[in-house]
């Protein structure tokens, strides 16, 4: 220190840096969003980009490594992987979204009821979820699947949906427990607001932010669950093309060392999951920030 005294407190902050940072996409998951859009669009309009019929069994060209005609190669049954990836992605995404909708709906109703019920009923319901949670998820899926019969796209979404609502329900319940004793809910009750009015007007807007992240993540874990189940042979059969069922032939692929059968659908799967995760994280951070400012 050259000077004996120094002015403390007001210091000039260089403003150049701030200008640089203030671009619109700052902090937003542009790359993830873009990629996800691309994949979703590709899956939705798969008819336009598919070069082959994804379910056509071309027995002359089976198990071919990627070349010019078969961009991503073909599988054991001679189906074109490139077309299958887009076509199957549609089903994977569909399952992810439908099962999330199902589980969220169950969770909201269950969580809200449990959260606003008297203590004994609440304890009972929570014990029930705990018991359900302590059954290994895989076994639950096998049971429900067996009851429903043969696996189809809808039945598998249903199975994943009704086996994955518990943790969201628990979060909603905790939130509702906290919110329902706040004075604006009491005030609303005094004015004569019914249970559903309060649920819709006061509770839902206040817990949506805290479950939003969970819901997005639920899409992700539903897609993972579908592919895992299909891979293990208890999900979709090989004829119904999805990212998971494409990999159910992987055991054979290991024997013949056909890497494209494993790597290509897997890469698509992981990129999608990664994008969803990034979006979810962005959502969570944003929501948290807003709450803290309030």
């Amino acid at each position: 220190m050259t000077e004996q005294f120094e002015v403390v407190g007001i210091r000039q902050i260089p403003s150049e840096k701030q200008e640089k940072k203030n671009r619109w996409h700052e902090g937003k998951p542009v790359l993830s969003g873009g990629l996800l859009m691309l994949i979703v669009a590709g899956c939705l309009f798969c008819n336009l980009i598919m070069t082959k019929d994804p379910s056509y069994l071309d027995f002359q060209h089976y198990n071919i490594a990627p070349d010019r005609e078969f961009l991503f190669g073909t599988d054991m049954m001679g189906r074109d992987i490139f077309s299958m990836v887009w076509y199957g992605g549609r089903i994977s995404l569909f399952i992810g979204i439908v099962s999330t909708v199902i589980s969220t709906m169950i969770a909201v109703v269950f969580g809200a009821v449990s959260g606003s019920a008297p203590a004994w009923a609440d304890t009972l319901l929570m014990r029930l979820t705990e018991i359900l949670l302590s059954i290994p998820g895989l076994l639950m899926v096998i049971f429900v699947q067996a009851i429903l019969g043969k696996a189809s796209v809808l039945s598998i979404s249903f199975v994943i949906g009704i086996t994955s609502w518990m943790s969201i329900a628990k979060i909603i319940r905790t939130e509702v427990r906290q919110i329902r004793n706040s004075e604006y809910v009491i005030a609303s009750k005094c004015m004569g607001g019914s249970f559903f009015y309060i649920l819709w007007r006061h509770l839902t807007p206040n817990f949506v932010s805290s479950i939003m992240f969970m819901v997005v993540m639920n899409v992700r874990s539903a897609i993972v669950a579908e592919s895992t189940l299909s891979f293990m042979g208890i999900g979709l059969p090989v004829e119904i093309i999805s990212w998971g069922s494409m990999m159910s032939l992987a055991e054979n692929a290991l024997l013949t060392n056909s890497w494209w059968l494993i790597l290509i659908p897997g890469t698509f799967l992981i990129v999608t999951l990664l994008c969803i995760t990034n979006l979810g994280n962005y959502l969570r951070k944003n929501v948290n920030r807003r709450e803290r400012n309030i």
């Binding site: 018991i131 998820g137 293990m232 494993i262």
Partner: protein
């Protein structure tokens, strides 16, 4: 005492739920007992077989009989293996415990180290790289990771075996067993590591921003001292409680890995028993996992009550995300989750 009672009731309910669910699922348990011979059986033979296995009574009577037997220490026989259920499990449990237990310890240690490392280098290049890599890795479904590793290390490089617990004929050889464990173990660890490391990192960073750290700094304590003596000490208890909840989570995650590697453990066993209606075996497996979940939750609760006596029973469990048990892929490391723990 009250806890023990709730524990018993929970287990009892669990057994009832599993019992009814598994019986309601269509399927013929005779197939698992007699194999293909079932199809050639005459109706009379069938009836006899069903009576012998006690399958002709109504469900509730079957359930009561099962309970009675359990109280006498008799868990029944496995239809498929035609052995006492406990015998079957005894043969497999060691494998799962090694895979899950050692995996758990490795996760515990490495996530702590990695979390501290990242928190130490907060926002520097290395921290960012690790964070990004962690996010990517935690997105990979474990079955796919297993496939890729098998593809690389056993099919192409042929360094490591692709499945099983030992080479046939060398069952007693410990080295051989370890050799077979490497790949599954790597996957167990990699899959969960980042979830917990990230949690440690975030908790540490939260702690570092507390006022007492400022005080310690102004008193002239070294950065390293503050970090390890004070911050780390403050987060360890809550980390322990989270790890306690995660025990079943990690063990559940080994299910899929076991199946991919056809590793003879409890995971493959319960998968088989559920698919082939091996009821007696299934019940015991489910109840074992149920006990594990409940006991771990209780441990976590006890730890949390030690930290903060205001924490009430029941309130904690809602904090962990156990959904992903199906897939074993942990939900993303989640600051909201950890915040929940501290808030409750």
């Amino acid at each position: 005492m009250r806890r023990f009672l709730t524990f018993l009731i929970s287990i009892f309910l669990l057994s009832a739920v599993v019992f009814y669910m598994s019986r309601l699922a269509p399927g013929d348990p005779l197939v698992s007992y007699y194999g293909d011979r079932v199809e050639k059986m005459s109706p009379a033979e069938r009836e006899w077989a069903e009576e012998k296995l006690g399958l002709d009574d109504p469900l509730s009577i079957q359930y009561i009989r099962w309970l009675e037997n359990v109280f006498h220490g008799d868990f029944g026989i496995s239809y498929k293996y035609k052995m006492d259920v406990l015998e079957v499990i005894r043969g497999r449990i060691g494998n799962t415990l090694i895979l899950g237990g050692v995996g758990f310890l490795l996760i515990f240690v490495f996530s702590l180290l990695l979390g501290i490392f990242c928190a130490w280098h907060e926002d520097r290049m290395i921290d960012r790289v690790i964070c990004k890599a962690g996010t990517i890795i935690s997105c990979i479904p474990e079955f796919w990771l297993s496939l890729v590793l098998i593809l690389v290390f056993s099919v192409n490089l042929q360094w490591l075996p692709s499945g099983g617990a030992y080479t046939i004929g060398r069952e007693g050889d410990a080295g051989d067993r370890i050799w077979h464990l490497i790949l599954p173990m790597i996957i167990v660890v990699i899959n969960h590591l980042w979830y917990y490391a990230y949690m440690i990192r975030n908790k540490l960073l939260e702690e570092v921003r507390a006022d007492y750290v400022l005080l310690a700094r102004s008193k002239g304590l070294k950065k390293r001292n503050i970090m390890f003596r004070h911050c780390l000490q403050n987060i360890i208890p809550s980390y322990l409680s989270i790890m306690a909840i995660s025990v079943p989570h990690i063990l559940g995650g080994t299910y899929i890995i076991e199946t991919v590697f056809s590793y003879p453990g409890l995971g493959t066993l319960s998968y088989e028993s559920a698919r082939y209606q091996d009821y007696n075996l299934l019940m015991v497996l489910c109840i074992m996992s149920g006990i594990l979940v409940i006991v771990c939750n209780m441990i976590a609760q006890t730890i949390n009550e030690r930290i903060d006596p205001r924490v009430k029973m029941n309130e904690l469990v809602c904090t962990m995300d156990i959904t992903s048990e199906i897939t074993g892929v942990a939900g993303m490391p989640d600051a909201a989750d950890t915040a929940e723990v501290t808030r409750v």
